[in-house]
């Protein structure tokens, strides 16, 4: 046995080198540990980390503009907003057809709401224009149908657009993708339509509009395209195409009708003018500022929500502060920080004596008093908040006692709720145990003999405390403060109930944007900033105390 150890590498019982055998055992051990952790890790990643990541994503996500107005934003790219003139006819043309589909899908108001965050008034502009879009096409539709009834028939149109020669499905695919982006859903199913190559070249705008109609009819309304009359927008497209189209080489279905239509339109109708149409719908469409806003926010990702969250805005000329009257969030952040600090300080002031008392009493008495600390800790948050609401109200217990004692006049009862005072008192009470418990565990570890030694060396009570005891209790204060501060800064329920208007936190604003104003992007941006602050503090807490040392109860 000694031979092998002296000559070669040390061998394990099965003959493999010991080093490799040990490594393999270590690897297996690591793998087993990971296998035990994996289910939970996956669970937390899916149910918790993914939602947080989703929220962060939403704070910069801005596809809505380019999803709703894909062509218009593309054409608009070449426009220079500094000229101070509205963009050219081609932008209005693209806007008409983009908006038409969006209005059919009822997505234009969503875009209006989105852009309204950046430029007030856009929302009503989009809503009112969305209702009037059909008017432009209807004019041409009436003229065409008066001349030839077949223009009002779905089957005729279908035959015209499908043609007899080659068809090209790529346009349908493109428009299906557009509609999917608008509806935010996967649309499966057969459209049952593909425009003929010939018609596509001859009547490009008509094909564009008709394809939108066909895709929407087949996928959203779930009707047969050939049986439905096309949208008014398609007639507008036809009118535009026929102004310039050279029909002489075309002999597919409906060739005669097209030639006749070209003639009728040339005689009876004004040439189509999209700019004038939009101007008649609302003069604001000629306002270059609106177009500049659309252009600024046409990218897929934006820092606009974050800028909003710190009272700035992204304008076509760069980043600038919001006007004074609209600055809201910095005040709110400052208030949140100020109130959280006040709450933390009051928790230190109130928690320190209690923790000291608990740490210096004999164990049996300390355990008894500990119940008084732990009972509120274990009591439902709602119970404690409702208790404070009951106590602080103007007709509540504290005011009643003060009035009974004659300290406060019955007519001049103190206002202690629905303001900052109410929030601070209630939250100090709620978070106090989180300060007392870490302080207590640190103070328990400070030997009382140090204080006695200091005193026997001639220190006064105060010096002994301040120079000897207090420095040793600082880690406890640090741990407790960070814990209380982290909890306070993100509190929602208590400020919501006792905070009124002036005592609310940034979290209340986040909730408001999620459930009432539906500005999810801004809510996500505010949340991301709050999260960054909390994670920074968490990291500090980890460095000072260590997450492994968190103790409960």
């Amino acid at each position: 046995m000694s031979d092998t150890t002296q000559n070669g590498p040390m061998l394990a019982a099965d003959g493999t080198p010991l080093k490799r055998s040990l490594n393999r055992a270590l690897r297996r051990q690591k793998l087993r540990a990971l296998m035990l952790i994996a289910p939970l890790l996956i669970f937390v990643l899916v149910t918790f980390i993914a939602p947080i990541a989703d929220m962060l994503f939403r704070s910069v996500e801005n596809q809505i503009v380019s999803d709703t107005l894909p062509t218009a934003t593309e054409v608009l790219e070449d426009w220079d907003h500094t000229t101070g003139t509205p963009p050219g006819e081609e932008v209005y043309e693209a806007l008409y057809y983009d908006l038409y589909l969006a209005a059919e899908a009822r997505a234009h108001t969503r875009l209006g709401t989105r852009l309204n965050y950046e430029y007030t008034g856009v929302s009503s502009l989009f809503r009112s224009t969305g209702r009037g879009l059909e008017d432009l096409g209807e004019e041409y539709q009436d003229i065409l149908e008066d001349a030839d009834d077949s223009w009002g028939e779905g089957a005729f149109w279908y035959e015209l657009m499908t043609g007899t020669g080659d068809t090209d499905a790529s346009l349908v695919r493109e428009h299906r993708a557009r509609l999917q982006a608008l509806e935010n859903a996967r649309l499966t199913g057969d459209v049952g339509f593909a425009p003929s190559v010939e018609i596509m070249e001859l009547l490009p705008q008509t094909t564009f509009a008709y394809t939108d109609f066909a895709v929407f009819t087949a996928l959203m309304d779930e009707d047969v395209v050939a049986e439905e009359d096309p949208w008014e927008g398609v007639y507008a497209g036809l009118a535009q195409d026929l102004q310039t189209a050279d029909l002489s080489g075309y002999d597919g279905p409906g060739a005669e009708a097209l030639v006749a239509a070209q003639q009728t339109l040339a005689e009876q109708a004004e040439p189509i003018n999209y700019t004038a149409f939009f101007e008649s719908e609302d003069e604001d469409w000629l306002n270059p500022d609106i177009w500049a806003t659309i252009q600024t926010y046409s990218s897929n990702y934006t820092g606009g929500y974050f800028l909003n969250a710190v009272d700035m805005q992204l304008t076509p000329d760069g980043i600038e502060m919001r006007p004074d009257g609209q600055r809201l969030y910095m005040v709110l952040f400052q208030r949140t920080l100020f109130m959280s600090l006040t709450i933390t300080l009051s928790c230190i002031l109130l928690g320190y004596p209690v923790a000291w008392l608990l740490a210096n009493l004999p164990a049996s008495k300390a355990n008894l008093l500990m119940i008084l600390v732990l009972l509120p800790f274990w009591t439902s948050l709602l119970v404690r908040t409702s208790a404070w609401k009951v106590m602080l109200q103007q007709q509540g217990v504290i005011n009643d006692v003060l009035v009974w004692l004659g300290l406060v006049d019955d007519a001049a009862r103190l206002v202690m709720i629905n303001n900052q005072f109410g929030t601070i008192v209630a939250m100090t009470h709620i978070l106090l145990p989180f300060m007392i418990l870490p302080l207590y565990s640190v103070m328990q570890g400070i030997p009382p003999s140090y204080l006695r030694a200091a005193k026997s060396l001639g220190a006064t009570n105060w010096t002994a405390f301040w120079r000897v005891y207090f420095p040793q209790s600082v880690p406890g204060i640090g741990a407790g403060s960070i814990l209380v501060f982290i909890l306070a800064i993100g509190y929602y329920i208590t400020p919501e109930i006792v905070g009124g208007r002036t005592g609310t936190f940034i979290s209340n604003r986040i909730a408001y944007h999620i459930s009432s104003s539906l500005n999810w992007g801004l809510a996500a941006a505010l949340g991301a900033i709050l999260l960054a602050v909390v994670l920074l503090l968490y990291w500090a807490y980890d460095r000072i105390v260590g997450i492994d040392n968190v103790k409960l109860g």
Partner: protein
């Protein structure tokens, strides 16, 4: 443990100390009756006289003296303000009887080193009073809610009938409302349906992971720990916002499953923390011994490891349970009307249609938390005992 031998003090001193308190309370009684200054002087003088009499003539008959004082105060209080006065009188009588003899017999010095100066003694007791007041601050809201839940009126404050201890002023009607109102019963049922399932999920996954994490060689231990603890650190409103966005994307928003998953995620850190804390004291040679005697890993886990870490697992489970049972922010966003839990119903009650039934529910919840607190405390003691048995 007495640091100092009690030496009786002079009657004047004891009466003086009592008079300070008497004057202090006198201010309040005085202001309530019209004149604070008069109350201050009268309170001080009366208490001084009574305490001096007790400390001078009745030092040997402490018990009788204290009873006597209490009776005098009760009678005076009753004549002055009826039944509530008698109760207040009883409290004051017992307090001043105790205080007078506590000072007069010198017992107040026993806890303080003999070399302490009078100022230090004064500070010692002032400090206790301050700390006591803070503890009262901690407990008062709960103590106020309990009696108010028996209010016969729909008020959130003590009615004159209640203060007069008139049975007419008390009733169980808010409790009756809680047990008969379909809104509250539905909410209770939802809470009972959600919390245990979330707890089971959290405990199941959490215990396994905690065992994995306490193995000697775990790669990326810090990072994994940070991820698993994060639901406790991230503010609830952010978790709620993220879950709302994400769960509506995947169709879990407004479903029972969504709420259960969200609550399980929130409860996991508590399970991890308590179970890893228990596992720190776990003696690994026990599992090796079990394996040595032929037990396979599963048997070892259930017959050796599990019974020893069970207290930690159960208290982690209780934490997870109370987290889910108390949680309102996340369920407010992730849930829909069909998942309205008890805290949610309370939240609505507090924000919109403030109804005193909330106080009855609050009292019931406080009783539940007292039971849970007692259970956790017992488990902690048992865990310490078990750990003490195993050599570490």
């Amino acid at each position: 443990m007495a640091l100092t031998i009690a030496k009786p003090t002079s009657a004047i001193f004891a009466a003086g100390v009592a008079a300070v308190f008497g004057a202090f309370f006198g201010i309040f009684v005085g202001t309530a009756q019209g004149s604070g200054l008069l109350g201050f002087v009268a309170g001080g003088a009366v208490i001084f006289a009574l305490a001096w009499v007790l400390a001078t003539f009745m030092r040997e008959q402490q018990k009788a003296a204290r009873w006597g004082l209490a009776v005098i105060f009760i009678v005076a209080g009753f004549l002055f303000a009826g039944l509530p006065g008698a109760v207040t009188g009883a409290i004051f009588g017992v307090f001043f009887g105790w205080l007078t003899f506590f000072v007069a017999s010198g017992r107040y010095r026993t806890e303080i080193p003999p070399y302490a100066t009078p100022r230090q003694v004064l500070w010692h007791y002032a400090f206790r009073i301050i700390a006591g007041l803070i503890l009262v601050f901690l407990i008062t809201p709960i103590l106020v809610v309990m009696p108010l839940s028996f209010n016969a009126e729909d008020f959130f404050t003590f009615t004159p009938e209640m203060l007069a201890f008139d049975p007419e002023g008390y009733s169980l009607k808010h409790y009756r409302d809680f047990f008969t109102n379909s809104d509250w019963q539905g909410a209770l049922w939802n809470s009972v349906r959600i919390a245990p399932v979330a707890t089971i999920l959290a405990v199941g996954f959490g215990t396994l992971a905690a065992i994995g994490l306490s193995q000697p060689h775990v790669p990326f231990r810090q990072a994994i720990m940070a991820i698993l603890i994060s639901p406790m650190i991230v503010p609830l409103i952010i978790s709620a916002a993220g879950m709302y966005f994400f769960y509506s994307r995947i169709g879990l928003q407004g479903t029972y499953l969504g709420v259960v998953l969200a609550h399980a995620a929130l409860g996991i850190p508590f399970v991890i923390i308590t179970v890893t804390a228990t596992l720190v004291g776990f003696d690994r040679s026990l599992t090796r011994a079990a394996a040595n005697m032929g037990a396979d890993p599963v048997t070892t886990f259930f017959r050796v490891q599990m019974p020893l870490i069970l207290p930690g697992v159960i208290s982690g489970g209780l934490f997870a349970f109370i987290t889910s049972f108390d949680e309102v922010v996340v369920v407010l966003f992730v849930g829909s009307a069909g998942q309205k839990t008890l805290p949610w119903q309370m939240f609505i009650g507090l924000r919109e249609q403030i109804s005193p039934t909330i106080l009855a529910v609050a009292t019931i919840l406080v009783c539940i938390s007292i039971c849970l607190l007692a259970t956790v405390e017992l488990l902690r003691r048992r865990s310490e005992r078990l750990r003490g048995m195993s050599p570490s």
